[in-house]
Symmetry: C2
Subunit: 231 residues, 2 copies
């Protein structure tokens, strides 16, 4: 029953983002030197879906990610599926792209000869259609930042309000108003104070910030909010 002639290759590519020094960074991995196409080129991690190992698509993406980094993923979502005759010179190819957010602090022992973080703003040429994939990922993150808690998954478990606002600003590439941001975040019930430890952990001067954590351990949609311009 199954067609014996050419059938598409099935792969998965993962856009992994993290926050380093208040800036979004993208994980690039070095392609296998034995690959018939683009060997040794740096790009986003990817690989074939393994029918024998993987239970489903998200597990395939998770496996690919694990293989390249020991990164604990705090957020993983299917992004889009790219497929055409021409996107890979080896033939008709399908890539189920995923978006992953990780906490930079939790990623340990990245082998710099295999995987590196680069500032997202500095990413230029990538092989295949990977620039398009990364662009789609950024668009998705920006969109969700306007109505959900998604950017918080780039922060540690507990964080301060200024830190939270900082991630939103980094993701949206736009300044936000302190007061408006607080009002919205509180009204939505997106975060809650962490009792006890109001102790400060950083900075030189200024009033110590209160610690918060997400009210919900998973993504929380809260209507269209948090978008505030400022000159």
């Amino acid at each position: 029953m199954k067609k014996s002639y050419e059938t598409p290759h099935v792969t998965s590519d993962v856009v992994v983002l993290t926050l380093i020094d208040g800036q979004l960074h993208l994980l690039l991995a070095k392609r296998d030197s034995a690959s018939p196409v683009e060997p040794n080129v740096w790009t986003i991690p990817g690989g074939y879906v393994h029918a024998d190992e993987d239970e489903d698509l998200s597990q395939a993406a998770a496996r690919i990610l694990r293989a390249k980094t020991g990164a604990q993923v705090t957020y993983l979502e299917q992004l889009y599926t790219f497929g055409s005759r021409t996107r890979d010179s080896r033939g008709w190819s399908v890539s189920i792209a995923y978006l992953a957010l990780v906490r930079h602090q939790e990623v340990e022992g990245l082998d710099a000869s295999l995987a590196q973080w680069v500032p997202l703003a500095q990413v230029r040429a990538l092989p295949f259609d990977h620039v398009e994939i990364v662009a789609k990922a950024l668009a998705r993150v920006r969109d969700k930042a306007t109505y959900s808690s998604l950017p918080a998954f780039l922060l540690p478990d507990t964080f301060t309000l200024p830190e939270l606002m900082g991630v939103y600003e980094a993701v949206l590439n736009q300044r936000l108003d302190q007061s408006t941001f607080r009002h919205k975040v509180e009204k939505q019930g997106m975060i809650r104070k962490v009792r006890g430890d109001a102790k400060r952990l950083q900075k030189g001067a200024g009033r110590p910030a209160t610690l918060y954590r997400l009210s919900h351990p998973v993504l929380h949609n809260c209507g269209r909010v948090l978008l505030t311009g400022r000159s």
Copy 2:
């Protein structure tokens, strides 16, 4: 280089929606009697991606749709990709699902022995994970209805404001307020009056409605609007 052992099947399934008598309807097609799984069962149209015929995924979806119906598609968007070891008893299977909207008036010559419209509300059991796919499609349509012109693609090229509001109500399954709806739609610049032909085309009594068309021929996002409850 290419793995010679088991590779996932690559298919595409299309959720086709239309509006009949103010109600959302789903297109079901009868599966091939020669299929090794679920022969002769009615479900959403689907088929293998053909590496030899199709240029890319959206063209594969369009081809599958054309094969089952002569339907002119007014809106086509990739929905989600479902893939796992167990979703198809034939083995590891990937389905790139698409959402299509068509104008019922423009669909001609549907062979009732091959394809039929059924009210979406009455759809119960479907084979494979197709219930999940349809649910995802409905969720997508509802979500986009709250901030875009998407439901208008279920209407003819020109339409009246009450008709437009009707589609939104059908999609959202919720009554809307006349006045609020008009204000929002106009302010967004989503539609524009069709000059000349203010002539009425239907109904028995009452003031004739103005004809409009979409300002933009493609999907228009307008911020989060149009959601108004009413007792």
